[in-house]
């Protein structure tokens, strides 16, 4: 089991929580396969891209390889399926891979300044 408090010290007695949502433009690029979703699990990476929610293929590789726990094999030697598997193990997903076994949902919202924001995720099945 793992729990993370991101980027903030305890300045109050009660526990704290964090949320990250994304801009629709990034979400659309992810959906089209141009970006990967970095699902907040790169805490042992030294990569400057590790805090980005959406990353390019090159940035995803940097997150995985520039890391305290690197993959056993060089990523260049892997075929595409194995490469994506390595990313999935580190919670970096293509749109198709994300929440594949669960019930997916998404919701969008337009801010007063006109920016479209997307909230998305999936629910686990009870049984």
């Amino acid at each position: 089991m793992r729990q993370i408090r991101q980027n903030v010290f305890e300045t109050n007695s009660s526990s704290t929580h964090s949320i990250t949502m994304c801009a629709k433009s990034d979400y659309d690029r992810w959906k089209k396969g141009k970006l990967f979703l970095n699902d907040g699990s790169s805490w042992f990476s030294y990569s400057p891209y590790k805090t980005k929610t959406f990353v390019t293929r090159e940035e995803a590789i940097d997150i995985v390889t520039n890391n305290r726990y690197r993959p056993d094999e060089p990523l260049e030697s892997l075929d595409e399926d194995d490469f994506l598997e390595v990313l999935r193990e580190r919670n970096i997903y293509t749109y198709d891979d994300y929440g594949a076994d669960f019930e997916y949902f998404e919701d969008s919202y337009t801010t007063p300044s006109g920016e479209e924001v997307v909230a998305f995720g999936y629910y686990g099945y009870d049984g």
Binding site: R2, Q3, S15
Partner: protein, 293 residues
């Protein structure tokens, strides 16, 4: 991001980083702590601000706690986080010796002050942060202005505290896109907060509820205390997976409250069940944890 420390707490491991990131990990599906990861410590009830919503009832007549002779401090596990508050903690004459003692014990103190005190005592706060005598700086918002924003930006571990029902939507929008950290606290209908509660408070809370999805795009981090999580129904904004990963537990589960003015401990600052302070942290935590689970 540098690692401050790593320790075992019961059946899991805690890693703490210098930007405040904390990771709990184990191979089980539950965490069973033996000692608190963090605690709220009230060191004084003195404050010259007399904010009408103050649930601590702090006043200019408030007294200071004896912070240098409390034995339980010596029993805290290294890397325990202390959220020091008051009253105005900067007014305590023993604050710096206390922080030096915390540093010797490898504790991680943070401190929350009112915006007016933050601005007035900024040089001191900056020095305390540079010397690693305090890590996080909570600043209770009283009014948005450029000076406040600049000073918050100058301290990377500062967090602006706002109260649901007190802060206005307009004030929050004026804070947008400065890469600030925000902590939203629930409204405590407790002590002076009970008298201040009105339809206006309820309306501001409702407006904040509607603003949340927009708001989180404009700050570096948006955090909530457990009361705000309930009052603003924060869970609606997250997936179940995110909730499981980011929800850090109920009050008293990993945290507790100590009032060094009255020499009492409790599950949280608003808990009405309070007990006389003991000399060892473990039995105190065991008691509040029983209430939390």
């Amino acid at each position: 991001m540098k690692k401050l420390g790593c320790y075992q707490n019961g059946n899991y491991q805690v890693t703490l980083f210098d930007d405040g990131t904390k990771i709990r990990e184990n191979d089980f599906d539950w965490f069973a702590p033996e000692h608190p990861e963090s605690m709220d410590i009230k060191i004084t009830n003195f404050c010259d601000r007399v904010c009408p919503w103050c649930h601590e009832n702090s006043t200019p007549d408030g007294t200071h706690g004896d912070i240098l002779n409390s034995k339980f401090i010596d029993t805290l596990h290294p890397y325990t986080e202390l959220a020091i508050g008051g009253g105005n903690p900067l007014s305590h004459p023993d604050l710096v010796p206390f922080l030096l003692k915390c540093k010797t014990l490898k504790l991680i103190p943070s401190m929350t002050v009112n915006q007016e005190h933050f601005v007035k005592e900024f040089d001191l706060i900056q020095k305390l942060a540079e010397q690693k005598l305090i890590y996080g700086i909570g600043v209770s918002l009283t009014g948005v202005n450029d000076d406040l924003i600049q000073k918050l930006r100058a301290l990377p571990n500062s967090v602006l505290h706002v109260i649901a029902g007190v802060v206005s939507v307009d004030d929050l929008r004026r804070l947008y896109d400065y890469d600030l950290k925000l902590l939203i606290l629930g409204y405590k209908v407790f002590r002076r907060g009970k008298d201040y509660y009105s339809d206006s408070v309820a309306k501001r809370k409702k407006n904040l509820y509607a603003l949340l999805l927009e708001l989180i795009k404009h700050f570096q981090v948006v955090s909530f205390d457990n009361l705000a999580v309930c009052q603003l129904d924060v869970k609606r904004l997250m997936t179940d997976k995110e909730w499981k990963e980011f929800y850090m537990g109920n009050d008293g589960q990993f945290t507790m409250y100590i009032d060094l003015v009255k020499r009492e401990f409790a599950k949280s600052s608003t808990a009405t069940e309070r007990y006389p302070l003991l000399e060892d942290i473990k039995p105190m935590f065991k008691k509040v944890r029983r209430e939390a689970v």
